[in-house]
């Protein structure tokens, strides 16, 4: 029998708690230095979505995102965590505005990095226009913050993945860490199947979903710089590593990104499946990549060595 979670020592909890299964608040508690988190506009303020009642849907007092300030290994960080279990972590007006405000403050201060714990299906459809625009504002705020010298690190490993506009915000970050269950994409499997048919994409084929959009493929492509095992400790270490590794942003990074993405298209544009891409990348027994343990996979990814932090 394992001890009840609350009775475990903090060092044990951070090692044994799955990022994927934890709530947004548990993720913050375990990622940051104990007791250091201060929330901005917490649930006690009851700043709910003004739009969900139009659809007779339940509101949540924090609108599905927790934003605030804390310490990571002694140093200050701004941090935002989406709650994937409320409305699929989707961006609505209030949800998005909290992250925008956090990024705008980071831009003014310049020296404090921002961590974004994504867990989102994208735009919240019941307030689609406000959600879409919130994402546009966040993308702009991320780029303004990065231009001012702020490091913006995305951590992706939640149940809702990082889809739709969330995938575009992730693409704006200075660097990403992703775990195997952390999927990154624009159109979700069901959306592709609904629009293009089951022949194009069978959303019930979970293996297909994981190898097309999952963390392993994104790490091998270089879209994410770090592959994290699904524990809070692995994500904490990844965040610290990336804060240390990320350099200053400038237009040169975007020129390098143009080259990086054009090269990807040239090399892999004709591949029909992720396994074909991995094979074209020289991985022997490419079909076994999904089965590799975290340690085995990290060794493989490091050998391929594709990163993007200097080209994004």
């Amino acid at each position: 029998m394992t001890a009840p979670l609350r009775q475990m020592a903090p060092a044990e909890r951070i090692r044994t708690t799955s990022f994927n299964e934890a709530s947004a608040r548990t993720r913050l508690e375990l990622l940051l230095d104990p007791g250091s988190f201060v929330e901005f506009i917490g649930p006690e303020k009851r700043e709910i979505s003004p739009h969900l009642k139009i659809f007779d849907l339940p509101e949540q007092f924090d609108d599905g995102i927790v934003v605030g300030h804390g310490r990571l290994d002694g140093s200050p960080v701004f941090i935002a965590a989406q709650e994937g279990r409320f409305m699929g972590g989707a961006f609505g007006e209030v949800h998005g505005a909290k992250l925008t405000g956090l990024l705008r403050a980071a831009r003014q201060i310049r020296s404090i990095p921002v961590l974004i714990l994504f867990d989102t299906g994208g735009v919240r459809l019941q307030e689609a226009n406000a959600g879409e625009l919130a994402i546009a504002e966040i993308m702009r705020a991320v780029m303004e913050a990065r231009t001012a010298g702020v490091k913006v690190i995305g951590l992706i490993g939640g149940r809702s993945g990082c889809y739709g506009g969330g995938g575009l915000i992730a693409g704006c970050c200075s660097a990403l860490a992703v775990s195997e269950p952390g999927r990154i994409a624009v159109s979700g499997p069901e959306v592709i199947e609904t629009n293009r048919g089951v022949e194009e994409f069978d959303s019930r084929d979970r293996a297909l979903v994981w190898r097309t959009m999952g963390g392993k493929h994104r790490r091998l492509l270089g879209a994410a710089d770090v592959f994290a095992d699904d524990t809070m400790l692995a994500f904490r270490d990844a965040a610290l590593d990336l804060i240390g590794l990320v350099g200053a942003f400038g237009l040169d990074k975007l020129r390098a990104e143009q080259g990086r993405l054009a090269d990807r298209l040239r090399r892999f544009g004709a591949c029909e499946d992720a396994v074909d891409i991995w094979r074209a990348d020289g991985i022997v027994h490419a079909e076994t990549v999904p089965e590799l343990s975290a340690d085995q996979f990290i060794a493989l990814a490091n050998r391929i060595g594709r990163t993007s932090r200097d080209a994004r």
Binding site: I54, F55, V67, A97, A105, M143
Partner: protein
């Protein structure tokens, strides 16, 4: 309005704008004598990895060599929904295009989006919503999500959604709804010369500062966003 008539009305002094597989690339002489870079998406084309990389590359090349504003004309589908696009990392390609436009604007190349047809979802985020000023032309019909799909997700009838849409601009498709949100800054008069309206806009461009949330509040479409963002910003500035 057709793209040809829009281009003729925008650039009476001539242009070399071409459309190739739905991608708009070119430049045009403005009456002020400066050259504008013109890019965009035509014919309701979906934006996939191939389209996005051409557009971003064209803008980046121009940053090295030219000055002047950048116009982004938009009549697109949503992002291309396909296995291949997602396999290759469409989110990075769309982000990259948006980042190039945002950073061009921050580096002395003011960006103006001109929404003249359809657009949706990731395609709108990567183009029009990544510009400093987004202009709508009468007849444009942007939609984050079309009502039939919304009906499916929300399990409400289209009639019910249409009824609800009358009292709130927050979810329903359409140019006027996006304008009330603060996403579309202004709607031009399609009957008057577009060159005059472009000239007036460029002569009086708002500063490089994202005020869309304040605009949404002024117009009554988004009453909470600006205040929430401002409160979080203040708290964060005090917290360090």
């Amino acid at each position: 309005m057709t793209l040809d008539s829009i281009l003729a009305s925008l650039f009476p002094d001539g242009h070399d704008v071409r459309i190739d597989k739905g991608v708009i690339l070119g430049s045009a002489m403005l009456r002020s004598g400066t050259t504008a870079l013109v890019i965009g998406v035509a014919d309701r084309t979906a934006i996939g990895v191939d389209e996005a990389i051409r557009l971003s590359g064209y803008v980046l090349q121009s940053l090295d060599r030219e000055s002047g504003p950048i116009l982004v004309l938009v009549d697109s589908d949503s992002q291309r929904m396909s296995k291949r696009d997602e396999l290759l990392g469409l989110n990075e390609f769309l982000s990259h295009l948006a980042k190039v436009l945002i950073c061009a604007d921050m580096n002395g190349r003011p960006t103006v989006g001109l929404l003249y047809g359809h657009s949706a979802a990731g395609a709108l985020l990567a183009t029009g919503l990544a510009t400093r000023v987004l202009v709508g032309l009468p007849g444009a019909d942007p939609a984050v999500m079309d009502l039939p799909s919304m009906a499916k997700v929300t399990k409400l009838s289209i009639e019910t959604l249409q009824e609800k849409a009358k009292s709130t601009p927050v979810f329903a498709p359409g140019l006027s709804n996006l304008a009330r949100m603060g996403a579309v800054h202004l709607i031009w008069n399609g009957a008057a010369p577009l060159a005059d309206q472009l000239e007036a806009l460029l002569a009086d461009m708002p500063e490089v500062l994202d005020r869309r949330d304040a605009l949404g509040k002024e117009r009554g479409g988004r009453l909470k966003a600006a205040d929430i963002a401002e409160r979080v910003r203040d708290l964060a500035l005090q917290a360090r």
